[in-house]
Amino acid sequence: MSMAEGLQPDEFAATAARAVAACAGLDVRAQAQNLAGDGLLGIIADEEVGGLALPLGFAVPVIAAAHSGLLGFPLLETILVGRLLQSSLTRLAAAIVSGDKLATIAWQGEAVPERDGGLLLLNGSLARVPGAASVDYILVRMSGGGAALIPVDAKGVVVEDAAGLDLTVPEHVVRLEKVEVPIGSILPAGTWDLLSSDANVLRAAAILGSAEACLALAQEHASTRRQFGHALSYNQAIRHALARQKLGLESIRHAITRSLSRDGGPVQRDAAFLAAVTYGSSISEGALQIHGGMGFTWDVPVHRHLRRIRTLQAQGDASGLISRFGRRYVSEVAPFAEAGA
C-alpha cells in the first residue's frame, strides 16, 4: 500500500510549487535536500528506496511546477534515475531519492564498451548532459540499447562546459576514455527505450510548465502595457495571438493526460512530447513577441523558458522522433485493398 494512497496528481502541484520556491538561491546539494524532504525526488520510486511508489502521472505536476518556477536542478533526470536503479542498485537509488547523491542523464551520444581482460571499459563522447558539473553520477546510453551508470569522479571521465541555450540547468559535454565500470552498473538492453518513453511524458510536462509561465507573463503584459491609449489586449491581433497560445497550451495538457490514460501507449507518449515541442516553442516565442522590446531583454524571464523548451526539444531528439514516428505510422498501414476483398 502506498503511503500516498488516495492522493491525486494535482495535489502535488502546490507542494511542488512551494518546494521550488524554497530552492531559490540554494546550491544544488541543498536544493536536493529540500526536494527530497518534500518527497519529490522519489515520487515514482519504490518505497524500498524511500520513494512514494506513485504512477508516472504524479510526476507530471511536479515537473511542470519545477519548470514553471525555473528550478535550477536536474529534477526530471533525478526522478527517472532513482526509479531506474531501484531494483539493481538499491542503495544508490536510495541515496538519490534522499538527495544524498546527485545524478543526471546524458541524452545524446553513446558509450561504446571495450573488454580489457576481465574489465569492461567505456569510451565515447556524450552531450546534452544537464547539470553534469555538479552531480555524482551520469547515466549514459550504451550502444545496443542498454545503459550504464558512471561515477563522475571515475578515472577517464571528463566533464566540460558546453555551448547551449539553457541557463537554468546548463548542459555539459562528457568524454569517456577507458572508463572502468563494474558489471553491476550496466543496465540491460531495452532500458533506454523505456527510459526515453517516460522521459518524453515528463519533457512534455516540463514544456507545459514553461509554456504556462510564458502565457501568464504575456497575458499580464498585454493587460497592463498601454499603447495608443489602450491596453495591448484591446487589439484583436494581440487577443487572437494569445488565444492561439491558449489553444496550444491546452493541447499540450490534454495530450499529456491522454498519454497517461488507459488508452495511452508509446504512440500517445511520443505524440505528447512532439505536440509540446511544437506548441511550447510557439507559445514561448509568441510570449516574447507580445512583450515587444522588453521581451528581448535579459530581465524578462520569457527567454529563460524559451531556452529551456528548445533545449528539451533537442534532449528528446524531436526531429529524429517525428521522423521515426511518421515512418512507423506509415509502415503499419497496409496498401489499399478493397474492403472485404
Binding site: R258, I322, S323, R327, Y329, F336
Partner: protein, 402 residues
C-alpha cells in the same frame, strides 16, 4: 432502396451491454450493415440518395447508434456521454456519409430537450431520431453572419406568430421538413435581447427555398425566404429571451460534443491516404521517405491531440464539470488541422504514377471532395476568428479596457 434492404431491422444492437462489449456490438453492427456503396474509401462508392440516407440513419438509430444520450421517454437510448463517445469512435473509423439530419440530432434536438415544452419534446424528438423529420438551421442572414445580434428576420405576435425575413447558408433546407428559425421579436437595437426560436414547418405558406451551388459543386446550401409565414404558438421553442439564453448554453456543449467522431474519421482518412499511396509505385517510395513521413507523422500527432481534446471534454462533462467555452478549442483545432491535412492529401495524390491505379482513383475522388469541403470548416459553426474571440473573451478573459 435495394442497397439497404439487407440493413438489419433488429432493435438496439448493444442493448444491455456496456464498455468494450458495447463497443464491440456497435463495431460489428456497423461493419455488417454499412453498404459498400456508402463508403467513400471504396471503388463501389456512389453518393447515397436522400432516401437511402434516411433509411440508413433510421437503421442506425434502431441499432442504438444515434439518440444515444437522449432520454428513453423521447425515443432516445438513455445512455451516458461516455457511451456516446464509444459509438462515435466506431462511426468515425468507417468512411461513411455525413448525416443528412445532423441539425436535428445535434442542434434542434438538444435545444428542444433543454427548453422545449413536454408536448414539443414528444412531438419533435422521436421524429428526428426516426428520420421522419429532417431539420435545418435558420440562424445566419445576409446582414447577420457571425454577428447574430444583427438579425433582421422578424416575428410578430398576434394570434400565433407571423414571420418575415430571409435566412442564408441554410444547409439542407431543400430537403428539410422543419427549420429552427431565430427571429427578432423586438427592435433591431435590442441586439441579443428579444430573440426567439421557432420550429417552422417548411411546407408552410409563404416559405420559399432556393439552393446555392457551393465550391464542391453541390447544391446543399440554401436561402430561405419567409413571407408572412404563420407559425403556431405550439411551434415557438422556449420563451422569447430565456429561450435564446438557454440555447446558447446548449450550443456551448454542442460545440464540444457534436460530430464527436471527427478525430476518428480524420484518422480513417489519414490511413486511407497512406494505404492508397502504398498501392502506388511512386507514392509508396515518397511516403517512406523522410520528408513525407515527417509530414504524415505530424498529422498523426495532431489527430492524437484532437482525440485528447474530445476525450477530455467528455470526461469533464461526464464528471459534472461545466464545459464553458472550451468547445471552441476543439473546433478550432480540428478545423485548421483538417484543412492542412486535406491540402497534404491532394499534394501527395497529384504525384501518383501513370496510369492511375484504382486505389488512386478512389482516393483522389474522396480527398479532392474533402479538400473543397474543408474550406468551409473554418467558417461554419463559428469562424476561426469568432472562436479565437471566444477563447480570448471567455477562457482567457482578456481585458478590453480602454
Amino acid at each position: 432502396m435495394s442497397v439497404l434492404e439487407a440493413v438489419s431491422t433488429q432493435s438496439v444492437a448493444g442493448e444491455n451491454l456496456t464498455g468494450e462489449a458495447y463497443r464491440d456490438a456497435m463495431h460489428r453492427w456497423l461493419h455488417a450493415n454499412l453498404p459498400a456503396s456508402f463508403r467513400s474509401d471504396s471503388a463501389a462508392f456512389a453518393p447515397p440518395t436522400l432516401q437511402q440516407s434516411v433509411a440508413w440513419e433510421a437503421a442506425m438509430y434502431r441499432a442504438g447508434l444515434t439518440g444515444i444520450t437522449w432520454p428513453q421517454v423521447y425515443g432516445g437510448h438513455g445512455r451516458s456521454l461516455r457511451e456516446h463517445l464509444i459509438a462515435n469512435q466506431e462511426i468515425g473509423r468507417l468512411a461513411m456519409p455525413e448525416s443528412v439530419n445532423s441539425i436535428g440530432k445535434e442542434l434542434a434536438g438538444p435545444i428542444i430537450l433543454a427548453v422545449g415544452t413536454e408536448e414539443q419534446k414528444r412531438r419533435f424528438l422521436p421524429a428526428i431520431l426516426e428520420m421522419r423529420n429532417i431539420w435545418c438551421q435558420g440562424f445566419s442572414e445576409p446582414e447577420a453572419g457571425s454577428d447574430l445580434a444583427g438579425l433582421r428576420t422578424r416575428a410578430t405576435h398576434g394570434d400565433g406568430w407571423r414571420i418575415n425575413g430571409q435566412k442564408i447558408w441554410t444547409s439542407g433546407a431543400y430537403r428539410a421538413q422543419r427549420c429552427l428559425v431565430l427571429a427578432r421579436t423586438g427592435p433591431l437595437e435590442d441586439r441579443h435581447r428579444g430573440l426567439a426560436m421557432f420550429a417552422v414547418p417548411l411546407d408552410a405558406k409563404g416559405v420559399r427555398v432556393r439552393t446555392i451551388k457551393s465550391i464542391d459543386g453541390r447544391e446543399s446550401f440554401c436561402e430561405v425566404f419567409f413571407d408572412e409565414v404563420e407559425v403556431a404558438q405550439a411551434d415557438a421553442i422556449g420563451a422569447p429571451d430565456e429561450g435564446w439564453a438557454a440555447a446558447i448554453r446548449v450550443l456551448e456543449i454542442e460545440r464540444a460534443t457534436n460530430r464527436m467522431y471527427r478525430a476518428w474519421r480524420f484518422e480513417n482518412e489519414l490511413r486511407h491516404l497512406i494505404s492508397a499511396c502504398k498501392a502506388d509505385t511512386a507514392l509508396s517510395a515518397m511516403v517512406a521517405d523522410r520528408h513525407y513521413a515527417v509530414r504524415l507523422g505530424e498529422v498523426a500527432v495532431e489527430i492524437e491531440v484532437l482525440k485528447a481534446h474530445v476525450e477530455t471534454a467528455v470526461e469533464a462533462l461526464a464528471s459534472g464539470d461545466k464545459i464553458g467555452a472550451r468547445g471552441s478549442l476543439a473546433k478550432l483545432y480540428w478545423s485548421e488541422s483538417h484543412q492542412r491535412f486535406a491540402a497534404l492529401a491532394i499534394e501527395l495524390l497529384s504525384q501518383a504514377s501513370l496510369p492511375q491505379n484504382p486505389a488512386i482513383k478512389v482516393a483522389r475522388r474522396r480527398f479532392e471532395a474533402i479538400y473543397l469541403a474543408a474550406r468551409a470548416e473554418t467558417i461554419y459553426a463559428g469562424t476561426t476568428e469568432i472562436q479565437l474571440g471566444i477563447i480570448a473573451d471567455r477562457i482567457l478573459q482578456l481585458s478590453r479596457g480602454k
